[in-house]
Symmetry: C2
């Protein structure tokens, strides 16, 4: 080992869902939208000559479009390279206390990775046996709170009053509400940002807007909260959003009809699929996301995962305590789900 | 002030060069390339339907193209959202010593911003009176070294032997060589990455490849160095490079003829412009970059800066010790520079 290696930041990185390169697979493992982005996005002409210039460092076109959409001011919107970038920046900006931050034991598995990377102490709060968050776990002293709502990989959503209760009882720290999946049936806490200056609501274009390939995430919060985040962002990288993201992201926001229609299709498929698999011995918590978290009464999740993979159907399996007999299944097209259902019928 | 503000990371962000929104200006303030990206890039069709999918988290298409271009292995290449992202990740990964990192007093003004953001101690080493780096300043004990070569905003390049000397004498720390401008006449240290495992050479597509708007930067280093950086990157954001960056970046690499031709035009314009302004009382260090660092023998830099701005000509002025009588002037098209020259002739 070389001497310089003594000063390396050593981390155990987050492992994203597999991105298989083979064709003709059914990909239900990374919560992508099965439908393409809005036709407005697909038909937009990008002036690639302009790539010679730096993008707008404030990404105003996109920020203003998001602000208009949510009926907030542009200084209440922060944008980043996917919600992962937004969340990482938020951890870096707000979690600098000696006290531990709190998040559920079963949740998005990047939270502890960011905490480890940045040297932030954390304490996991156990979900109850139905995978529900217990609000009272978040009443104790802490250095900050992160709640995914709907939660992942369970899909369970809590009402905005539940979130407000936690925010109200924790006004001396920042509460991050990660709403990556909220458009598929959750209730957003965005309405709270004018009432509490310590809540940050994080969103993404990757799921409901079918734009995972562009990497656009954003956060809504009080102007003072957003200003602190922007200070850190501008101390890290002046230009995070590239020209195609800014332009195509803003374009997507314009097409509310397509957005609603796509979401409706995903929700309908999800509810149909849930009914069908319950008939063959699966059960799963109620989902407000674009995935289901399923378990079977006799066949192990790992076995189904492996057999599905052999049949070129990819779902997500987490080899972790309490959830190692569950699979997270992204809702694809009706056709995808029919094929998967056929597979399940033959294999359980 | 709210209580949560006590735990906010407080920083003084880097201020990038102005990006004026008005039309019909001459923009010589952020070192952009005056020529568009390669025709291969402009003509490339992006399959925007595929934006619904996450991009390849390893950005293999781009990484492999860069590796081929430099004749190195793909595991010796790291890519990021502009060289700023690459440098920030490198600071985070490698500079975790109790000892101070070293860089010149006059250099890219983001280095101290990253150090402040990440709590890294640093000590500026004074350039000599001709703005040259003194190698012996970097022989003392330190926690890491950052050298921009060619340096910014001076444009002065040092030979690769000079860099090798510093790397050789500092094998217990990581030496970052920031080669953002090297294609315009500098000598790259990329050849050293197989010889020393502690040198990281950082590059960008923003200047010589006319792709500032896409945000593509990369680093070359030993496989072990790159692995550590990727571990940190995957602990921060799984997918940093979006689909357009990966595809258009790889396309750009294919067009070596256009790349060389564009660079030659910029260099020719630079040398012509340098000769012309020296005739009217300016002087500037020899530049191996796409800018000149100019000072006049009677008229103050600030005065020229302000008057140019009134005439819709934007150049960069740094209100900092030792360089507050200099302007950094990006090399534009021959036509841009003729207009600027006319302006200068009337105003000095």
């Amino acid at each position: 080992m070389s001497a310089w290696e003594n000063n390396v930041r050593r981390v155990v990185p987050y492992v994203p869902g597999e991105q298989p390169k083979e064709k003709n697979i059914i990909k239900l493992n990374t919560n992508e939208n099965p439908y393409p982005p809005s036709p407005l996005v697909l038909e937009k002409k990008l002036s690639l000559e302009k790539l010679r210039l730096y993008p707008d460092d404030k990404a105003s076109l996109l920020v203003d479009a998001i602000a208009d959409y949510h009926g907030v001011n542009s200084n209440q919107v922060f944008v980043g390279v996917g919600s992962d970038d937004v969340l990482a920046m938020a951890f870096m900006t707000f979690f600098n206390s000696d006290k531990k931050i709190l998040f559920p034991d079963i949740t998005y598995s990047f939270y502890d990775v960011w905490a480890e990377l940045l040297g932030i102490g954390y304490e996991r709060q156990k979900l109850d046996d139905s995978f529900r968050i217990k609000a009272e776990d978040y009443y104790k002293e802490n250095g900050g709170i992160v709640i995914a709502n709907p939660n992942a990989p369970t899909g369970i959503a809590e009402p905005v009053l539940f979130i407000e209760d936690i925010v109200k009882k924790n006004q001396d720290v920042v509460v991050i509400v990660d709403e990556a999946y909220v458009d598929f049936g959750g209730e957003s806490a965005a309405s709270l940002i004018d009432k509490y200056d310590n809540i940050l609501v994080v969103r993404t274009f990757s799921k409901s807007r079918s734009m995972a390939g562009l990497r656009i995430g954003y956060a809504l919060g009080s102007d003072v909260l957003i200003k602190y985040m922007n200070d850190v962002k501008f101390s890290y990288n002046s230009y995070t959003m590239n020209m195609p993201s800014i332009i195509l992201g803003a374009e997507s926001i314009k097409d509310e009809a397509y957005f609603k229609q796509t979401i409706e299709k995903v929700i309908n498929t999800r509810e149909w699929f849930k009914d069908e698999i319950e008939k063959i011995g699966f059960c799963c918590p109620p989902s407000s996301a674009n995935f289901l978290f399923i378990t079977h009464n006799t066949v192990s999740a790992r076995e189904i995962f492996e057999r599905a993979r052999e049949n070129k159907i990819y779902v997500r399996y987490f080899d972790k305590p309490r959830i190692d007999n569950y699979l997270r299944v992204t809702i694809g097209t009706r056709e995808d789900m029919e094929i998967f259902l056929d597979f399940l019928k033959k294999n359980v």
